[in-house]
Symmetry: C2
Subunit: 414 residues, 2 copies
């Protein structure tokens, strides 16, 4: 058996142990992990320094080096993150929809752990701790596979966490990190049916595509967001300006940032020049449809590719539409099922947009930037699901669990 | 574009139309389909006769010929099935967990259609109507791929249903049947990402394995059931006998039938002989562990393979265990995550079994045969999910839908 499958097998072997833990026991472990991370901060920084040195040698840009870096304040952050997860309510064990059937069976739906959760992610080493803490609190063993550039940091964080788990008298194999970072290793993990119950890729569009096309274990797609702001004919243009600016510029590198602006033709001549002026403050590059370019002659023309693009940068496509229907059709054609917003005063336009736009989160008169586990009140999130199966939108602890039916009988037969 | 992808594309093109229909409109279509199936019963029987003749020529056994056959009473059955689906409550549009966030956003979780549901199934042509009716009521377009042996029947049923949809003024492409029944055609359907939102294989273990290993669209596994009856030390042995007999013999070819009997060693000498006598009435072949064989010397020895086998026949594996823990461990090792039952008088044994057995449905003192959409009160089901993602256990209309978050704002930005 390969090292990867062996890791998966060891995780599966302890899943029933961790699944049966009480909330107080799980919280005690999470607090022990937080303390251990703080106690070993010098080890973490030393391992991280090696990753950073190797990254610089390999020519990583400063943005990536920054994502890779674990300084004291970030170590405090991941430790506090564990404590925050410990403070969250435990979804496991809740029984909903308990009912009595005509023949006297009591049937209830009980929330239970997944078993083994696999997560494949990219550069940021703090994900190693965040993901492990969430999976643990959700009662599942985890198998994590981080990026090559962060391997030494991830290994150090994982060893500290596993030590803390053991110090609480529990098997370290509740938390696992894959050491084999080859393509073959990834493929083994993606095809570990029977060992891994769900696989969550967290990262860029390329990673997610690769996992979706190769995995045979169930996958939850996360992340890519080609989000639109549609300024309706009846929009309050000042409100539209604030929402547009916030959704585009507050943080450009995140999946819930807006990438495309649609403007109703009846307000385009008035709105587009003020929108351009506002976005210019952040040096946003605009790619417009021909009618937009006629109003804003100094911008770039939008290609078909622009409409489908998640820039993750100070860049945006702009299109004038003649109706709400045209806006909805455009969005349903080019979006990635993440977050979409209409700015309008019109009751019927608001309802139609909410009804017909096909996305995880659909907004009326608010910024798309709110699609986030914290903002939605979940406390913490493992990612934003953009697929329709199991979980759609921010995934918190609840979405990391499944259910089983429990049935109390008195000898019933069919 | 291939014929298969073209069909998927046409389904996707109308998904927003069907998704926006009101319940009354959908019900009107379902009743029109029921009427049309009855009105065209001679056409259906004629097409079916061709399938049956071809089946006999190809040497199908009588069991399969029976599954293939559509006589008047079965045609009445599928038509009534459509009327029953029309009578079910519509899950689409329900908004749950609407809440007001601290910054004044109103966030709710709205149940919405999947979009396009693909279903790959085997011989029985009535599935064509059942599946189409459920998907339609759930607000999704469907792409169905039935078995080769039933193709003429399926095509006839589908043409009648599409005609009924059109007669109601709606696009026929809401309902689709794949004509290309080659392996390549199946693969195209399984990899139609962006067109098919979820794929549900309905059939034997081989079909389901093939779909799980080839599909890149999200899949819900259904069906295979290696279900156990565990007779605990404290069991009422009369009750255990009735439950065992019902779970094994009432209908052997279904996924919720029992395939394996576990008996606590303290009651084995008493229970096994009476169990054998009772099962002998239905000529059940037993495969026992060495200790079982010592008590019942005339049975076959069980191999490792027997413990993992879904016989779907008058056949059963039997094993003596020395504790509840050993029973749970055996079940979690060999089961397929379907339905498991304990017969016991012991409160703690019952709770432990419910807590620790990893399956879609876990029973205390009742037959596993109750794992069924109808018995669970869902009215109709598309199958029994044995995976943990999205839906686990019987899948009714609700499980054929997804959700999106809708957010009402007043200009909020982050």
């Amino acid at each position: 058996m390969s090292a990867v499958l062996d890791t998966c097998r060891r995780a599966a072997a302890v899943k029933h142990t961790i699944g049966a833990l009480r909330t107080t026991e799980k919280n005690r472990v999470l607090l022990a992990i937080a303390d251990a991370l703080e106690a070993h901060r010098e080890d973490i920084k030393a391992a991280n320094a090696l990753d950073i040195a190797a990254g610089r040698e390999n020519g990583l840009n400063e943005g990536l080096i920054d994502r890779l870096t674990l300084d004291d304040s970030r170590i405090d952050g991941v430790a506090d993150g564990c404590r925050a997860v410990a403070a969250l309510p435990d979804p496991v064990g809740e029984v909903s929809e308990m009912k009595l059937t005509p023949n006297g069976l009591k049937i209830g739906k009980k929330r239970v752990p997944m078993g083994v959760i696999g997560i494949i992610y990219e550069s940021r080493p703090n994900v190693t701790v965040d993901a492990a803490a969430l999976c643990f609190k959700a009662g599942s063993a985890c198998v994590l596979r981080g990026g090559k550039e962060a391997y030494r940091s991830n290994r150090c964080l994982m060893d500290i966490m596993r030590g803390a788990v053991e110090s609480c008298g529990l098997p370290a194999d509740c938390l696992n990190l894959i050491d084999d970072l080859t393509h073959e290793g990834a493929n083994e993990m993606m095809r570990a049916n029977g060992l891994i119950d769900v696989l969550i890729p967290r990262g860029g569009a390329g990673l997610i595509r690769a996992v979706v096309s190769s995995a045979t274990v169930p996958v939850i797609e996360t992340g890519t967001g080609n989000c639109h702001i549609y300024v309706d004919a009846s929009a309050d243009l000042d409100m539209a300006l604030e929402i547009l600016n916030n959704a585009k510029c507050q943080r450009v590198s995140v999946c819930n940032a807006a990438e495309s602006l649609l403007v109703h033709s009846s307000v385009a001549e008035k709105f587009l020049p003020i929108a351009q002026r506002r976005l210019n403050e952040s040096h946003v590059i605009l790619h417009g449809c021909p009618r937009t370019c006629a109003i804003l002659p100094d911008i770039l023309p939008a290609t078909e590719e622009d409409y489908g693009k998640e820039y993750l940068d100070y860049e945006m496509s702009v299109k004038i539409v003649d109706s709400l229907d045209e806006a909805i059709e455009h969005i349903n054609r080019y979006n990635t099922g993440h977050s979409e917003a209409i700015v309008t005063h019109d009751y019927f336009a608001a309802q139609k947009f909410l009804d017909l736009v096909d996305a995880a989160a659909v907004y009326v008169n608010a910024s798309t930037r709110f699609t986030d586990g914290g903002e939605f009140g979940f406390g913490a999130e493992i990612g934003i699901s953009t697929q329709k199966l199991h979980a759609r939108g921010p995934m918190g602890l609840r979405e990391l669990t499944t259910n089983k039916y429990i049935i109390y009988g008195e000898g019933q037969i069919r």
